[in-house]
């Protein structure tokens, strides 16, 4: 089912939580709303469920206006961060509860539950109460409770945030698999940009109740529309250096770059992704020099925090094989074609071409 938001605004007294958001979630799409806390992502989700009534604007399901419908009428399912399982019912009853009065036969409910439980790997836990289940099992039951109803739309509000890191990654992959299988329209809310990047067909980056960018995860990463998106997406985050344009040369402290073709406007800030920085030991006499402040072993790569004169701290991501001591001086080099440029208002005025130089949009998948 397609979900369309038209100029959606939600105010809580004087606080504008969502400000004029227009958005279409395509049928069968996995769309993620991502942004820092307080950006309005959960409020948008709650408006889609009907748990919040928008101050103004419309919500359409397949073209039908549902703005004034009760949550019960909308044919949706929601998964909550804290599971929200009925504590006085077994896992099985949690899953069957919504089906009991909907005219399904006992046998059909039973078979749907066992099918769903099988898919989610909770078949052995159906007779336990939520209290007896682990966090991961609880969220699987909650997911099962949503799926048995064959909803038209599934909404997920930070479903993995209460789980530990390993389980989070495991369930992340499972959610993707389930979505590929069922192709139910899914709107997913998270503050974790990595989750957004890994799971979604498209992501919607939000800040202060307004949409910053709607695009594929790759495009949000490589071609951010503004400084906020550039900063929010990616970990470790992009380095931002204040810069000046003199003729055709951009200067930021000890760094200088040629103004790339296609840059329109006056850059006041320069952005460099940590992986676009390469380091070499010692002062080569040519490149800007930084002093190693912190060195982090991540595993597949290392992260180096450098102190650079005139610009402050810069973060670089280097191959796991390279090693530097704390306090060591290193030469820093950045490829001229890998810089992002932003103007005074924080708008992007230049993004480097994609590494593959393909179109920013992901090639459309099978649907």
């Amino acid at each position: 089912m397609e979900v369309e938001l038209k100029d959606l605004t939600k105010k809580f007294d004087d606080l504008v939580a969502v400000n004029g958001v227009s958005l279409t979630v395509k049928d069968g799409e996995f769309l993620t709303l991502v942004g820092p806390s307080g950006c309005g992502k959960s409020t948008i989700l709650r408006c889609i469920t009907g748990l919040e009534v928008p101050t103004s604007g419309q919500i359409l399901f397949d073209g039908e206006d549902v703005t004034d419908q009760q949550p019960q009428e909308r044919g949706i399912a929601m998964v909550f961060q804290n599971y929200a399982l009925y504590p006085h019912m077994t896992a099985r009853r949690n899953m069957s509860f919504a089906l009991e009065d909907s005219g399904h036969s006992k046998a059909e409910i039973e078979s749907r539950i066992s099918e769903t439980a099988e898919m989610l790997g909770i078949g052995d836990h159906l007779d336990q109460t939520p209290e007896e289940l682990s966090g991961g099992q609880k969220q699987r039951v909650a997911l099962g409770r949503s799926l048995v109803r064959n909803p038209d739309i599934i909404l997920m509000d930070e479903p993995l945030s209460n789980l530990d890191a390993k389980l989070r990654i495991e369930l992340r992959a499972e959610l993707q698999k389930i979505h590929q299988e069922l192709e139910t329209t899914t709107v997913y809310v998270t503050h974790d940009q990595e989750e957004a990047m890994t799971m979604s067909d498209r992501i919607v980056v939000l800040n202060d109740g307004e949409i910053q960018q709607v695009s594929s995860p790759e495009a949000a990463y490589n071609r951010p529309k503004n400084r906020f998106v550039a900063d929010f997406i990616g970990s470790p985050g992009m380095n931002f250096l204040p810069c000046r344009l003199e003729g055709e040369t951009i200067t930021a402290g000890p760094f200088s770059f040629g103004l790339p073709d296609g840059a329109e406007g006056t850059p006041t800030e320069l952005g460099i992704r940590p992986e676009d920085i390469s380091l070499s030991a010692g002062d080569d006499g040519d490149s800007p020099v930084g002093e190693v402040n912190v060195f982090e072993h991540i595993g597949p790569y290392n992260i180096v925090y450098l102190e650079v004169a005139d610009v402050g701290e810069i973060v670089a991501q280097i191959p796991a094989s390279r090693y530097f001591d704390i306090g060591e001086s290193v030469s820093i080099s950045v490829r001229n074609d890998r810089i992002h440029l932003f103007d005074q208002a924080g708008r992007t005025i230049y993004n480097p071409p994609l590494p593959s130089d393909a179109d920013a949009e992901r090639p459309t998948t099978s649907r």
Binding site: Q72, M78, N82, Y86, H88, A98, D101, R149, L155
Partner: protein, 294 residues
Amino acid sequence: MSIRAYLPGRDSTAGEESADLTRTERGLLYAALGLVTLLVVFPFYWMVSTSLKTGREVTQFPPTLIPDSPSLIPYVDALANGMWVSWFVNTIIVSAGATVLVVTVATPAAYALSRREIPGARLFLMLFLSTLMVPTQALVLPLFVMFADFGLVNTHLGLILCYAMLFTGFAIFLLYGFFNSLPNNLEEAARVGGIPEWKVFLRVILPLTKPGIATAAIFVFVFSWNEFLFALVFMQDTPMYTISVGLATFFGNRGSVVLNQLMAVSILAVIPVLLLFAVSQERFIKGISGGFED
């Protein structure tokens, strides 16, 4: 913080604190606790002890702490000299009736106040609370006149309605706090799951509110059981008395207060309440202290 945390040695922090106490301080602490316990327990002990004494020993001076020859005769005598069974039945009817009525009215009211956006909800809550601040003595007379018109004086229903009026505000307030402690998410999950509103209330909310409802019910039952003024005014015929009024008018068989018999029936009157507490103690404490535990 719970009372438990103040008791020495019950958990780690309290344990460390008590380790800091010197021997004298600890001695003083226990002496104070002992004194308070004595103050609370002694009247009850005195009641029991007196109820087991013979008529002569009751009037003895100085009084004896432990009865010389304890006997149950005062109990038998007392029961033979009053309409105790009727009074007991009256009290049960009125207390149970009031409890059912109050809980039935207060539970949905508290839920609505806690969860629904009702214009003036705060005002309603204040109004309910303000019923607790009116001295009940001021209400007796107007209510009596009104109830007399309706023929409700000297009936169980009349007294039940009085108690409902007296205790519903309190029950709403208690349950309101309890509903507020229930996470919103459960209802939201049910609503989004397509569960109709009445079923959300009956099947999701009510089962989780049981400790709160039980607490409110116990309070109302005990309040009603002990209530004296309204029962005295509204129940005019001796057979309609409740236990509390019966006790107050009990003079024994010789026309003067017979202390041992009075104490004997007092104990009998208190037993149901004590039993109720004993049975529901755990739930009761949870209900007033913890609220909902996720």
